[in-house]
């Protein structure tokens, strides 16, 4: 009987600890660096629109996906550069916003579709025009890539982690989170993105009949 308060204290401690760890690893939000948010152009190209958690991908899944499946399911050599405008020196293509929501995640932004890559005479290096009129990004190609990668038999925590292990040292907890939560969930997410990227502004109805939110909210015409 004398032990009960101690037991309660230990249990409370464990519960609080678990809640804290879970919150830190899944929900803790951190702002993007000022280098992105303080400049209007970079903010358009890489700034978050807040959709990382409900329609984005875990950062490392987004990074290694082309390394695992690009040789099969991308239309040409170049990883994401085979499909999307991508500025030299940037870690991700245009329209990929990296932000911490628990873990680092990638969300897709307006710039994914609304940016063009022009080749000006004398420059082989494409110039990125924010909100350009030319549609250079192959969004259907990206949708196919996501769908086909997620449908491949090789899509597993083992395969994806093996590729991540070539690129980064994930911490013990984060690695476990990737193995048991993030990678399995990514498969669903990729299939979902594959269909939603084809009609990004429309609410889609899933096979179970429920209505899902659009990838990008409809904006009034101007």
């Amino acid at each position: 009987m004398r032990r009960r308060p101690a037991l309660i204290a230990v249990a409370a401690f464990v519960v609080v600890g678990l809640v804290l760890v879970t919150w830190t690893m899944l929900y803790r939000e951190a702002p993007q660096p000022a280098s992105i948010t303080s400049d209007a152009d970079s903010n358009f190209l890489y700034g978050s629109i807040g959709n990382e958690s409900n329609s984005g991908l875990p950062y490392w899944v987004a990074v290694v996906l082309p390394r695992v499946f690009g040789a099969q399911y991308l239309p040409g050599p170049g990883g994401y550069a085979a499909l999307l405008p991508w500025e030299e020196g940037q870690e991700l293509p245009v329209g990929f916003a990296k932000r911490t929501v628990g873990v680092e995640r990638v969300g897709f932004t307006c710039a994914l579709c609304h940016t063009s890559e022009r080749r000006l005479s004398g420059h082989v290096t494409p110039r990125i025009d924010a909100a350009g009129a030319l549609r250079a990004a192959d969004i259907n190609g990206l949708a196919d890539f996501f769908t086909q990668s997620a449908s491949d038999a090789r899509f597993s925590a083992d395969t994806i982690l093996q590729e991540i292990d070539l690129a980064y040292r994930l911490g013990v907890l984060e690695r476990a989170l990737y193995r048991f939560v993030l990678i399995p969930a990514s498969r669903e997410r990729l299939l979902d993105l594959g269909s939603r990227l084809r009609s990004p502004h429309a609410a889609t109805v899933s096979s179970s009949g429920s209505t899902r939110p659009a990838l990008f909210p409809k904006t009034p015409a101007h």
């Binding site: 660096p33 082309p66 040789a71 050599p77 990883g79 550069a81 030299e88 980064y168």
Partner: protein, 557 residues
């Protein structure tokens, strides 16, 4: 009775628990083992120091080949060696064994060793491609030059050998283990003194591990690594040359079957790596695709097996610091016709200096060498375009995702400053100190300076005499040949023979000896074109006397 049984059971249970604990501790000890063979002297560290490429991380087993398999392989499958002769280690690939080393049991320059998972493993280090040799005659003494292009090393042939060996039926424990025993026995008989780079013979547990797991695991590793590089035709490389930017395409998951064939043929000469301090801020690589010495090093480091997860950052920056001020050896003065030098200097200043810089570092001074380290467009330089084309705009972009996540605090002011500073030329010692302070906090960092160019970079000419053959693809054997128009340049010649030609400045590339020991370079093969860098402004129209004078001056670089 029951008490006896209980006592017995308790005893057995205790023994089992103890055994499990011992095995667990031993396994933990082995799995966390990570000890490179270390060298105190910077030059030795450059020759044999590990970049981390041997070790693995989690599901990546690492690139290291167990020492005993490396040593036994040429003896196991001698018929697959280029010259078919066992007992010479990897000499037939032009790897360099220093005097006093036994090629059968010791490592050549450019191989490092690290004990990981309780196994002594070996893999490449920087010097494998950046150390060469020359001799002043067929019977001359072999001089080993650190930082020089590895003029004799046939990387492509070695890759072909490993590919063939890994799919050979003899690459399995029932053949490999007896061969390892045999090699270990002859090493004991040879009575070599102990050295850190000569690991002890395998113990009982190692033998079991190798027999049932190690050999087939190694085979798997080689097959999958070389399988990813299947699209590369290693037979086109030859000695002293490598296709730099096609392997990363495999690493980045490029769809090779859709790539243009002309963008998959980027064979180029190994570069020299002296005077890196003065190269900071110049456009590096043959096509000038990056201005950061650090990124260039990390990119090349992938070839030594060092990935973001396995790199030994301290060991790599130690190598970089050694190369920071490393100097080429001077041209043997007995072979310089001194009276011609000053006239040659005047010609050099008129024709060459703007692009190639001054004779000694820092190469660019106020008013001089303004274009050194800058890119000359292909329309002007007109040298072979394959190396340029293999570096595609898509690759430049995808490389931006390499070393992603590093450093963990990339948004810190110091690390942002480091990224800014990494391409700034060094003006003073204070610059160097500041740069190193930033680097040591923020290294390695994600690649942010790769770019697609439309030409080839104008390089400083330090150690020029040891950088033959010339042009980025090694298609012109000597400086004298480079001062001729294309029709007068040799069409076929032999590279990889290290006897020096002090008159024409380059290696001996013709004659029976060169043909016997060298590799036939045919300039009509795509990628080997020997045109370009010609015309009045490139000195090919100079009078014979002027060319002679210019060559004498160029010997002094």
């Amino acid at each position: 009775m029951a008490a006896t049984l209980r006592r017995w059971l308790t005893g057995i249970g205790g023994a089992v628990v103890t055994l499990i604990a011992i095995v667990a501790v031993y396994a933990l000890y082995r799995l966390t083992d990570d000890r490179p063979v270390k060298y105190d002297k910077p030059a030795e560290h450059f020759k044999y120091g590990s970049t981390g490429g041997e070790r693995g991380w989690k599901r990546q087993f690492g690139f290291g080949v167990p020492y005993w398999i490396w040593i036994a392989m040429p003896e196991l499958v001698p018929d697959l060696l280029p010259d078919g002769r066992p007992g010479r280690g990897y000499s037939s690939f032009g790897m360099i064994y220093e005097d006093g080393k036994d090629p059968r049991f010791d490592l050549p320059i450019g191989m490092s060793m690290r004990r990981t998972m309780g196994i002594d493993r070996v893999y490449f280090t920087c010097s494998v491609c950046h150390t060469g040799t020359y001799r002043d005659g067929a019977n001359g003494r072999r001089e080993i030059v650190l930082g020089m292009p590895a003029n004799t090393f046939e990387f492509g042939e070695l890759a072909r050998f490993l590919r063939k060996a890994s799919i050979d039926p003899r690459f399995q424990a029932s053949y490999m283990m007896p061969k390892i025993d045999e090699v270990a026995e002859s090493r004991t008989r040879a009575g070599l003194p102990d050295a850190p780079s000569r690991p002890p013979a395998m113990g009982v547990i190692d033998r079991l591990l190798f027999r049932y797991v190690g050999v087939s695991l190694m085979r798997d590793q080689l097959v999958s690594l070389l399988g990813r590089l299947d699209f590369i035709d290693f037979s086109k490389w030859g000695p002293g040359r490598v296709d730099t930017f096609d392997p990363p395409k495999a690493l980045l998951g490029f769809r090779i079957d859709q790539a243009h064939p002309d963008a998959l043929n980027g064979v180029a000469d190994f570069p020299s790596v002296w005077n890196q301090k003065s190269r900071k801020g110049m456009w590096l690589h043959w096509d000038g695709n990056n201005c950061s010495v650090d990124e260039r090093n990390l990119s090349a480091g992938f070839g030594t097996g060092a990935t973001p997860a396995t790199i030994d950052a301290k060991a790599v920056t130690d190598i970089a610091d050694f190369l920071w001020d490393a100097q080429p050896p001077p041209f043997p003065s007995g072979h310089v016709r001194q009276p011609l030098v000053s006239r040659g200097e005047a010609i050099y200043k008129e024709y060459c200096q703007t692009c190639h810089g001054t004779q000694k570092p820092p190469f660019r001074q106020a008013g001089d060498g303004t274009r050194v380290g800058q890119v000359t467009p292909l329309e002007r330089i007109k040298t072979d375009r394959h190396r340029l084309d293999t570096y595609t705009p898509e690759l430049a972009r995808a490389q931006g995702s390499l070393y992603a996540g590093y450093p963990p605090d990339a948004d810190r002011a110091e690390c942002r400053e480091y990224v800014e500073d990494v391409c700034r030329p060094v003006q003073s010692d204070a610059d160097v100190q500041r740069f190193r302070r930033l680097r040591d906090q923020c290294y390695p960092a994600r690649f942010q300076h790769f770019r697609k160019t439309e030409g080839y970079a104008n390089q400083p000419l330090d150690g020029l005499w040891l950088r033959a053959p010339y042009l980025h693809n090694g298609s012109v054997p000597t400086l004298r040949g480079l001062l001729e128009r294309q029709p007068m340049r040799p069409k076929v010649f032999y590279i990889g023979y290290d006897v020096y030609d002090f008159d024409d400045v380059g290696f001996v590339t013709s004659g029976p000896e060169a043909e016997k020991y060298g590799w036939r370079l045919d300039t009509s093969v795509p990628g080997n074109d020997n045109g370009g860098h010609e015309g009045r402004e490139y000195g090919t129209e100079l009078s014979p006397d002027d060319k002679n004078a210019l060559i004498e001056y160029l010997k002094g670089f």
